[in-house]
């Protein structure tokens, strides 16, 4: 990105981001929230003829130790307004604190309508208090989908209240309440003329984010709000009572897109002109979109749900997932294929379409109905092959466009076999060096991972970077005769062939030669700190690492020590490391397979035991005695 900024306004946004980052590391003991009260009320705005949700969010803060500036931030967007803010310090209104309003910048989103209101609340000394009240309006109830309970600081008491008038129909679904002290009460309040749902939580601690953990909807206590309908005396509104309603809204956004069919057809024909089969045509279109359309995420009001026109994506050569899916669909349609748009929630989200809500999905892909089979094409996965699926969408429910009535299906689940990382080595010992001839192959997401790294590197540095990667960054390793398969052909596996000279790989003590059997030592020291780690661990994809090494035993030499076999079969993973002597050669076989990429916290101790055994295997050396 070419960046050219001269004035200081962006500092304030940076500051806000910094404050967020700081929040997580602050000593939570210094600030506590004695009371947090979040109240939501459905109201009918007669003037606008719409149902709105009024939110009053009150939070008190207490300084327990030393002076602190508490960062306060509240987001809003095209559908949510901040109507009023009241700031009190030590019981008095504090008008000297002026909230700032800015664009909220996120690295992974090119532009969104999310804006941020932020300021710092000064708590000058121990015992000082602050009270903040935000009044907000959600102008369309279908955007009111979730209520999360935890805060960045310890909360003594949290009260969440939802006032639902008789004319309003909603469903509240509770998630991750286990392990939290949550009291729920539902009663009719005559004064409010509403059913009041009250959730009271005591002694609530913040949830610390951990690397590679499940998405917040899997771990944080929260409510999924399904706003179904409103029936007033002289008016009624239908939101998402069933999935039909949600689909109807989605479908209304994608029909009659007024694409320039002629431009799209001309491009589709140009892309597929050298293909001979239907399947090749499909692949050509998919790979062209992968290669030529840059992914740029937009979340701008309705544009967050409505794809850009396909011919516009084609002209701009960039788009978000919706734009890329739309272009893929239209190019395929132009060639006579049956292609559809699909809405999908990635594995970051705990819900499926049994709960109609805008929070169920976060992604759009293209479905292709071809020769009795449904294929899913996600061109945002830049280096994955046709009919290969990224872990994040595998097995996920998918809502497929089908005129007035959707099709609900699932993306196929691929096994670890999709993601091969296979290394075959033939080695000889020459003095203190090991010389190897190596063939290495990657497929599926293993290939995608390597190619993503490679294409992020400047062209002139790619070969060196690849060699360094293969040499594990070891200065004693020289890679020669390096060749690769066509890195631009994602339809094939990625293959490299090379020779490796590993200097000082062999330690010689008298007549004995010592060396490590495994150069890469994958998953070495991959042990969970069970005292620190509180959440499940999620690998990005299923691993399938295989190695076959054959080392020629020097003439007259005898193998005196070999690392002991480990063969561990668990439900979620497999570890096999076998070294044997066969036909004057040392044969080493390794299989490290992660079948289920989510390692549950409950299995950490077994994992640690098994991977400690692997670590010990790696630590053992082969010993050969020469004549």
């Amino acid at each position: 990105m070419i960046l050219f900024k001269k004035c200081g306004i962006f500092f304030s946004v940076l500051l806000a981001n910094f404050c967020f980052a700081q929040t997580e590391t602050l000593d939570n003991k210094n600030v506590t929230i004695p009371l947090s009260k979040d109240e939501y009320t459905f109201v009918y705005n007669k003037k606008q003829n719409r149902v709105e949700v009024k939110q009053t969010q009150f939070q008190s803060y207490l300084c327990n130790q030393i002076r602190i500036l508490v960062p306060i931030a509240e987001t809003y967007n095209n559908n949510v307004t901040i109507d009023n803010i009241e700031i009190r310090t030590n019981g008095f209104k504090n008008k000297s604190i002026i909230p700032k309003y800015d664009y909220y910048s996120r690295d992974d989103i090119f532009f969104s309508d999310v804006r941020i209101c932020y300021f710092q609340l000064p708590l000058e000394k121990k015992g000082n208090t602050g009270e903040i009240t935000f009044e907000k309006t959600i102008t369309d109830p279908k955007y009111f989908t979730q209520i999360f309970f935890t805060e960045p600081y310890n909360v003594d008491e949290k009260v969440v209240q939802i006032n639902v008038p008789k004319w309003m129909k909603i469903t509240l679904k509770e998630y991750n309440f286990n392990g939290f002290s949550i009291h729920k009460q539902v009663e009719y309040n005559e004064k409010k003329e509403a059913d009041v749902y009250t959730y009271t939580l005591k002694n609530l601690s913040p949830i610390k984010k951990e690397n590679y953990c499940p998405g917040p909807t899997y771990i944080e206590p929260h409510l999924l709000v399904i706003t179904e309908s409103a029936t007033l005396e002289d008016n009624s509104f239908k939101f998402f009572e069933t999935l039909n309603d949600q689909y109807a809204w989605y479908h209304s956004l994608v029909q009659d897109m007024d694409n320039d069919k002629a431009i799209l057809k001309a491009k589709a024909l140009e892309i597929s002109q050298s293909t001979t089969t239907k399947l090749d045509q499909i692949k050509a279109i998919f790979y062209w979109v992968q290669n030529n359309i840059r992914y740029l995420a937009f979340e701008d009001g309705i544009a967050g749900f409505k794809p850009d026109k396909a011919d516009e994506v084609l002209r701009k050569k960039y788009g978000d997932c919706k734009g890329m899916a739309h272009l893929t669909k239209e190019l395929l349609l132009a060639l006579g294929f049956d292609a559809r748009l699909c809405w999908i929630g990635t594995n970051h989200i705990a819900y499926d379409y049994s709960t109609p809500s805008l929070s169920v999905d976060n992604h759009m892909i293209c479905a292709l109905l071809f020769e009795g089979k449904t294929y899913f094409l996600d061109a945002t996965e830049k280096y994955i092959g046709f009919n290969e699926y990224a872990e994040r969408i595998q097995g996920r429910q998918v809502l497929i466009e089908n005129k007035d009535k959707y099709i609900l299906s699932n993306v196929p689940t691929a096994s670890f076999e999709q993601n091969k990382n296979i290394e075959k080595k033939i080695c000889t010992i020459q003095g203190t060096s090991i010389i190897s001839t190596i063939e290495q192959v990657w497929t599926g997401e293993s290939k995608e991972y390597i190619l993503t790294q490679l294409f992020n590197i400047k062209k002139e540095n790619v070969t060196d970077a690849f060699k360094k990667f293969l040499a594990e960054g070891n200065a004693d390793i020289l890679i020669n005769n390096f060749t690769t398969s066509n890195v631009n052909n994602y339809d094939q596996s990625l293959q490299v062939n090379y020779t490796m000279e590993h200097k000082n790989a062999v330690n010689v003590f008298g007549k004995e030669l010592y060396f490590d059997i495994d150069l890469r030592k994958d998953f070495n020291n991959f042990i969970f700190d069970t005292t620190e780690r509180k959440l499940d661990y999620c690998f990005s994809y299923k691993y399938n690492i295989q190695e076959e090494t054959s080392i020629e035993i020097p003439k007259g030499a005898k193998v005196t020590t070999l690392p002991k076999l480990i063969d561990i079969q668990q439900k979620d993973y497999r570890i096999l490391a076998l070294v044997k002597v066969e036909n004057e050669k040392i044969i080493y076989k390794k299989h490290l397979i992660i079948k289920n990429p989510i390692i549950k916290k409950s299995t950490f101790s077994q994992w640690n035991k098994d991977f400690t055994a692997l670590k010990e295997f790696y630590a053992e050396q082969v010993v050969i005695t020469t004549p």
Partner: protein
């Protein structure tokens, strides 16, 4: 009486709104006119620095090859003279133009990613206005982008596709995704920042 008052208030609001909208549209119109002048000055004036159309053989395997680059600082003397006439300030009213232009061949995905968008402060107005005086401190940024396709086609980017991340009366921040940019293209872009500042005994240099 009440109705009359209400009417007056409404008329005032309508008038204020229309004046504001008019001011906004006038400001936009002036910006566009100036933008066009800058574009012609930079893109339509022959500049031997940017005449190179092909990548020298020795650089063909590089990620991005800069075919031409210039950074130019100029001071507009005409604007400086205005100060003497106006007499509004004891210092100097200076107009500084900073122009960065770069012509670069995009040879791989990494370069494409690096040159895929522009982010800039489009307008900034920190001018202090008193009853009888005005102390200028404002700047405007103009951008222009051309893409030379390998088949000889030249695409001039419509900078109206920009997104304003800040859009207030005094500050505008812009963001522009470079459309139709692909590996193999030559990107020719400029960023011109025009500042008008009242300075007291301070001479700003590059």
């Amino acid at each position: 009486m009440k109705l009359l008052f209400l009417k007056s208030v409404l008329s005032f609001i309508c008038l204020s709104t229309s004046v504001f909208v008019f001011a906004q549209s006038k400001s936009e119109r002036l910006y566009k006119e100036r933008s066009e002048v800058v574009r012609k000055e930079i893109f339509e004036t022959k500049n031997p620095l940017f005449s190179l159309k092909d990548v020298p053989e020795k650089y063909k395997d590089e990620s991005a090859v800069i075919l031409g680059k210039s950074i130019e600082y100029t001071m507009d003397k005409k604007s400086s003279r205005l100060l003497i006439v106006s007499g509004a300030n004891n210092g100097n009213r200076l107009a500084f133009y900073t122009t960065i232009r770069e012509k670069v061949k995009i040879n791989d995905q990494s370069a494409l990613e690096n040159y895929s968008s522009l982010e800039y402060n489009k307008k900034m107005d920190r001018t202090r206005r008193g009853l009888t005086s005005k102390s200028y401190n404002e700047s405007q940024t103009f951008i222009g982008v051309k893409i030379y396709k390998p088949n000889g086609k030249v695409v001039t980017l419509n900078t109206d596709e920009e997104i304003l991340t800040t859009d207030s009366k005094k500050i505008q921040d812009g963001k522009l995704a470079i459309s139709d940019l692909q590996v193999g293209d030559i990107l020719d872009y400029y960023i011109r920042v025009e500042e008008l500042i009242d300075v007291n005994n301070k001479i700003k240099g590059p």
